[in-house]
Symmetry: C2
Subunit: 219 residues, 2 copies
């Protein structure tokens, strides 16, 4: 289990760094997905299931956390390449940190890299990491009122995964109401209700992911 300690990037423009990283990765045929959510929404469980479901894709994971290495260990146990980045107390990843993390992870022979961002619905929404897709997870136990409280995150995401739908019978979560609130903030967002535990709804998410892959460059 490798660990890399990252510091906030000193740069003239994070947006410019992010755009440069994004273009480089597209040219190399690598899809970078920025996965954001609050703590405990099931990011690692979703990734584990996605990796198992898509054995033909070479998936690697850049785990960002303040501390700990549990998530990277879980991913490595599945045979996927993974590195644990520690963010020096910071609540987000910027483009420079993402680039450093990717270099440490290694991106040869890779189709998809997931950046599992710090568990937080606020700061990560404010920083472009260079990812081609921003995906946010909201879990059923968190409640259907979250779009009202963290509008920026919902506005900035390309896709919303509503996770732990197997828990719907035990919580007051109105799927339709939640989706309506989200679409009001962001009419273009794709919404995927799913359970990584039972597998329900995984296929639609995985099809979208596959569809997001950049065209491989001609050799």
């Amino acid at each position: 289990m490798r660990v890399i300690e990252l510091k906030e990037t000193v740069t003239a423009s994070n947006d410019r760094d992010a755009e440069a990283l994004r273009q480089e990765l597209i040219l190399r045929g690598i899809l970078l997905v920025n996965l954001m959510s609050g703590p405990g929404s099931g990011k690692t469980t979703l990734l584990s299931r996605t990796i198992r479901d898509l054995p033909d894709l070479r998936i690697a994971v850049l785990e960002a956390d303040l501390d700990a290495t549990v998530d990277a260990e879980t991913i490595e146990a599945l045979g996927a390449r993974s590195i644990q980045a520690h963010t020096d107390g910071m609540c987000h990843m910027d483009a420079g940190m993402t680039r450093a993390g990717l270099e440490a992870l290694g991106t040869e022979q890779t189709d998809v890299v997931f950046l599992e961002n710090v568990g937080n619905l606020i700061c990560p929404a404010e920083y472009d990491t260079g990812a081609q897709r921003r995906v946010m997870i909201l879990s059923v136990p968190e409640g259907d009122d979250k779009p009202l409280k963290y509008p920026l995150m919902f506005r900035e995401s390309d896709a919303l995964i509503i996770s732990k739908t197997d828990a719907l019978p035990y919580f007051d979560f109105d799927l339709e109401k939640c989706e309506a609130r989200v679409k009001k903030l962001n009419p273009m967002i794709q919404v995927f209700p799913l359970s990584a535990k039972t597998g329900e709804g995984m296929a639609a998410w995985e099809a979208w992911l596959r569809h997001s892959l950049p065209k491989k460059p001609a050799k």
Copy 2:
């Protein structure tokens, strides 16, 4: 429903401002509790139940969020005084913001003020708000590994509420393991597993809260 827009305080020392506010409140016999957690851990549900269970205490709530007014509306529906503070995109409350929020809320005829901090396990742990007690909530669906990932929040809290224990049968959450991890970070912390839905465990939390009240000043 009143709303106050707050900006980050420009100050020489947040710690000094926090200490001054704390001493003032103690002298006035008011308990200020800083309630912190990730999004959707059940802060508002816990407060609603606590307010209903303790009718002899005059409880007021300062709701801090990036946006929305749903929480303050829920609290007001219970007949408790409440104000919604918006934090201008910031992921925490500082002591100056807390003071401004308390002034707008009004603290006459008040025994306890809950500051329902922004839903986030990172930034709020770094700022002293002037509260006498810091209480963190971790909900069962978030998982028992959170002390490993957000150690500062667990270290800085006087009490940990493990909420939504009614959901224990549906999630892999090891209460003992979680408590051991937390106590390793912070041997002095009080841990209260409870369900605000069923009422289980509420009495211990409410007794601790009552015990935390400052002595009323002699008239």
